[in-house]
Symmetry: D3
Subunit: 137 residues, 6 copies
């Protein structure tokens, strides 16, 4: 309803964003978008357009570095556990190793304290177990 | 005065940490350590030993990724501007480009909001100007 | 036991606060107060007296604006999900629309990042569902 | 350089955002955008497009409520003093009274503590003095 | 103007709070209160009444422990440097040693990271220098 | 695998840390360490060596004050509920009374807001109930 942009415009950023979201977050990203459809569909659209269509689609920094930086920031902030898990998946999806993910989370003990690092590691533990279970099934 | 560890032990971690601090932060790091000497010398020692002697000396994640992750986290937390500047220097010292630093700070708009990203960019602007001035002198 | 104020004094602020709490938070507010009775009854009293008896009872800003501001702040801080839900109820109780609540939460993507906004929206989704279920029963 | 969207698209959101930025923040907003031109011009563009072109241009919540919510959130977060000042100006620019601004900042004592509220009030004090000085000149 | 409580009531809490403020923060506390007089006099009154008249006047925890806890919390939060300095003065005023203040700040490296601890130590360094200068004059 | 320190060195800090961890956190601390063994064993080692072997083993501040300061900081930060519970246990283990723990948490309403204090009290309520249940069995 607040969609005042030219359809072409949205199509561009939206499609580029949707592809990037699928590349990085896979099914987990789609689920987040889906869960917003009935309450805040425009927030879903903005997430596709701005973080993924604009930021993650930029040259100048590779996707692996972008995901590690996001895992670092969300571990340090410590108030967005579900999104941290989505991006630990994302980091692994774009080619980071589990060791790299663990290292960047551990490093946050230095900048945000040991509780933040611990809770980040526990999020990684859940994500790794989830992926192991899926790989086995 | 609370130095109860065996001298050998400290020598190892301390020397490894001191070398890593010099490699990453150069003169800026030494100044921080120096400024603690009269009030909290043991905090200076811990900074050399734990973040630099233990964490930054670990294999498993390259120094460039470590510094970008730290720049991301300090930008997102937004309450440690002096340390953010030290690590923007650090990122550049270990081989990150200015573009990579700007990209990782901009990305924080997504995870910690535009004010955090803006203040990170202003810190980078100061650091870049400082380095340009030095290069010219 | 630490009740050293004159009874009259407490009666004034306490009664005004209790009425305001009932007006804004209804049953949910009373439950929070009740849950403190055995462990920190004075904290319950302070909550009634200061936020509700002093702050929310002030002229100069209408209750709807106060509740939207609280929803904004708790979404941005991101570390008090139960209280955010209480105040989403509160905002609706004092006359805000669901759309206004969703808008103010979405806006926090700009100031505290998308994860904070997302978690705020999910809190609103729970609150709206709770109210729908109640309306149906 | 990363401007891959159709020019029409950008023109729409960008122009709408630029007008909203001028309406809300006036000269202060333009200065922030200007200060980014040499280091992160795309961040300047995103600020115009997303917060102002997308979010502040939405129906569903009036501009006064949006600005009060932003003042509340930035006071509570406490780590973006320059942006808080810009938005105290913004709140006054779109029709909020000084009393309303003071009230919403004071209320943050409840949700983010007295130091956050105090530092918000000191920011307001600076902004009010600045506007008084301008009115006199 | 929003002073709707009975004068007796205020007199009790206010006087108790004022005495406690003077005991803990001395002249620095009075200056904060003074600086609020023209913009938010009721916030000044609330600071005297709630933190000092209610909380700091409670039995159950001695003043030294209360001040050390406040120094710990403000160091960890990292977004209220002026208030941290006021409470480092406060801790020393009620009998904590400089070593205890330094120890509690250093400990925050564990819970909020090294930058928070560093900035806390630099605040302490300023406070100690201020007191030394005063002692000499 | 990244264990490059001399065995003697680690033995000293590690053993001192392990004893301190047992003294403060008892079984809960050991469980945290155990849970890290398969994913980040070096983080477990760092927790034993730095917070417990270095910081908590320092003279200059008694263990009761250290634990109260930690409870204050974790309540104020509000993003590490599991660690807050571990340290409420810790405070009681080293001799703090339940009243002191409740007082220090309540005080955080002043510095980090009422929601942070409330969530701290609810953590204390869980811990007290757990200890009562254990005492009865």
């Amino acid at each position: 309803m607040t969609q005042v942009q030219s359809p072409t415009a949205n199509t561009d950023r939206y499609q580029r964003g949707w592809q990037k979201l699928a590349e990085v977050d896979g099914h987990a990203g789609e689920q987040v978008i889906e869960s917003l459809k009935d309450i805040a569909p425009d927030l879903a659209r903005y997430i596709i357009e701005f973080p993924f269509g604009d930021i993650y689609s930029r040259p100048g920094l590779d996707l692996k570095s972008r995901e590690l930086a996001t895992v670092a920031a969300l571990t340090a902030l410590g108030n967005a556990q579900p999104q941290l898990k989505v991006h630990i998946h994302g980091a692994l999806n774009v080619g980071c190793t589990r060791e790299e993910v663990v290292e960047v989370i551990m490093q946050m003990a230095v900048y945000a304290g040991f509780p933040a690092a611990l809770n980040g590691i526990f999020a990684a533990k859940d994500v790794f177990a989830e992926r192991d279970a899926k790989a086995m099934s």
